[in-house]
Assembly symmetry: C2
Homo-oligomer: 425 residues x 2
């Protein structure tokens, strides 16, 4: 699909609001909602802080076809040389719905997402009605499905949604917030969900929405603190709690992909490891050092700077150094009983777990032609280009090859085995 | 002072509770407080989460002479080869007091801190009563003073405390939380305090206490999340707000030293910069790119891993690349009107702004002889030893030389000029 001589580019962090979802937001009187301003422009208001004191709804962000029309997504992709996108519903997903409505909406939404992806394929094929799965040479859109993860929902209903997503040719994972069923990702009630997602081999894209409470003071800083800090810090806390709860010990096959390069988790992982070993209540809980688990996850490459991205690569790569504490053996030896395989440090090359993303349609240029290249995209391409020590091979992995392998973009059902497990066979 | 052939080691992150402060905590019925358990051991309870549900006060941390006796501090220093310590009151400082009591307590505390430092000198000098300033060859303890920064205090009272600290030979800076006068470090009411601290040339050690609210869920994770994440995230948010308020634009001489390597601020600084340039309400507020300001501050080297520490160094070093936006000139050229000086990137070498610290007496070994070496200290020494590209010169800077220069440890009043300003003269 990529033109000769240039790498294939896959965008795994790019959002949509499907038509039915936008309708739902238009009908609402509370945040989150879509409102129409006096000038006729529609705006989405996601955060309480975005509601103006004077009720003018001057805040929020403009919404338009870039959110729901696959042709607008394809235009953006073409402007940036993006071959394939794996789209996901933008926050706050279904979090504001009751359990019954969430289950129904998730089902409808996943069908809509499948049609959204297929429509792009159909339009490439001269508007045929064939919406069946297309090989990679034709399909340009894939998606993460949505789960009805709200308080009070029956686990069985969540598992049905997992099943629906697994059966949908263009859906290759799920997007998930940090609230789980209301109590967070360390809630024991999440166990059957993790088990089902592991079995299904679906990629779980963990994405923030809520930020942190009461931390940003009285000064007006626009969206800067909520998005610049609140978002990545929420992911950091959510995943730290998940790891501390032993989720990755019990579900080593769970494939978590962390938004915004996992925020502050890489930079604080050694401090967390030290706090664990110095806390009598926690020190013996996990099978290995906290830093080991950072090598079991995937990360988008939305770190905005080469220095930041380099850190993420390093903390993934070093994970193999933190051997299994129980048996004093590297993890790879423990799981297959053989001692003659690769040294663990080589098993988790960080560059194989970083995946390019854009966060489209958020962070558009404030001025100028929004159909031209976006600085927010180029910042992250520049970061990938600027990591010390990376050559073309590493950059091509992050730009697209990792996504092709992780999401099995060649063909449904042949999703690439995690290299670690492939080596064990 | 250092033995021949080994570098001088200065610990700039090491805490005390002076005797009067411990008495204050013993008298209290609410957190923060010091309680005596049934076994006779005293424990300090700092966080609400530490109070056991059954009221048994089984949580909290043991306190003893290591908190208030300078001989215990010196023993710890000797066990780790630390030549000089710059001690500071441990959190929560005076935050829980009303304004009148805070002003009185700060005055008493600063006198006690001066005596604490002088007592160590005196004991080295065969118990003479001379508590006057000692040259570096004799003094082993210096301190950050405390300010009565609580809601309702008169600015004049804070400025008096600054004056008192400036007049105290062993006090070389102040420790400051992130609440300011109750509304945070971006509160306009803090302006006279910043002005006074800049004029006095005192180092401002910014340290967390409160963490983040309602983020850690229902599972019992001991202190891990409050200390491993809450602390560094609080500092991250506090300093981001301070920068966004323009404090470093208005007070370029303010010398901020950030605890725990500024937490997540380095890793999120490019994202914050991008969020600023994409926010119409904020994009024109600061004089330069957000990343520039990271080169104006100092950082302790409590990052716990070489990869994390390397990131901090890189983000400080790159700060000079973010030239003044207004005049399209590097900052150093803008401030002195000359264009023939050093390129800005060389003006902020990160390795000159990182300073070794231990966090003593927190994070003691859980088992074994606490008079032996502490793993929590060795982790950070190992991190300094392991940063790629650092040789003996860089390590010696971080271990002690930077502190000697920043705190002017040679002689009071000859506090070293910031190299940037020295170059401009």
């Amino acid at each position: 699909m990529a033109a000769a001589g240039r790498p294939m580019i896959v965008d795994i962090h790019t959002h949509v609001y499907t038509p039915a979802y936008v309708e739902l937001l238009r009908r609402r009187a509370e945040v989150p909602r879509v409102v129409r301003s006096a000038d006729g422009e529609e705006r989405v208001i996601l955060l309480k802080e975005e509601v103006s004191g004077d009720g003018s709804n001057s805040k929020g962000r403009p919404v338009g076809p870039q959110y729901w029309d696959s042709r607008a997504k394809l235009s953006f992709m073409d402007a940036h040389g993006i071959d394939v996108s794996v789209v996901s519903l933008a926050n706050p997903w279904l979090d504001f719905l009751g359990p019954t409505e969430a289950v129904e909406t998730a089902r409808k939404l996943n069908d809509e997402l499948e049609a959204y992806c297929a429509s792009a394929h159909a339009s490439n094929d001269n508007q045929t009605d064939d919406t069946s799965f297309s090989p990679l040479t034709q399909a340009r859109l894939f998606a993460f499905g949505s789960l009805p993860l709200v308080p009070g929902v029956e686990p069985a209903a969540v598992l049905e949604a997992v099943e629906q997503i697994q059966q949908s040719p263009h859906l290759r994972g799920v997007i998930m917030g940090t609230k789980g069923l209301g109590k967070g990702l360390d809630d024991p009630e999440m166990e059957p969900v993790y088990r089902a997602l592991s079995s299904a081999g679906l990629i779980v894209f963990v994405h923030p929405h809520y930020g942190v409470e009461n931390a940003f003071g009285e000064q007006d800083n626009g969206h800067v603190l909520a998005l610049g800090l609140g978002f990545p810090l929420e992911t950091t806390i959510g995943i730290a709690r998940l790891i501390l709860a032993g989720v990755l010990d019990r579900h080593p096959d769970l494939k978590l992909l962390l938004a915004h390069s996992a925020g502050a988790l890489p930079a604080l992982s050694s401090r967390l490891a030290s706090c664990i070993t110095h806390d009598p209540h926690v020190k013996d809980r996990l099978q290995t050092d906290f830093r080991f688990y950072l090598g079991q996850m995937w990360y988008d490459a939305l770190a905005y700077g080469p220095e930041e991205l380099a850190l993420v690569e390093r903390v993934i790569s070093r994970a193999g150094n933190y051997e299994c504490r129980d048996e004093e053996l590297p993890f790879i030896q423990r799981v297959n009983g053989r001692a003659d395989l690769l040294a663990p440090v080589a098993v988790y090359p960080g560059v194989e777990r970083l995946l390019f993303g854009t966060d489209h349609p958020f962070f558009p240029p404030l001025e100028g032609d929004s159909s031209a290249r976006w600085p927010s995209v180029d910042e992250n391409l520049d970061a990938i280009a600027g990591v010390p020590g990376w050559g073309k091979q590493e950059r091509d992995r992050v730009l697209g090859q990792n996504a092709v392998e992780l999401f099995g973009l060649e063909a449904k059902g042949k999703i690439g085995l995690d290299r670690r497990w492939a080596l064990c066979l």
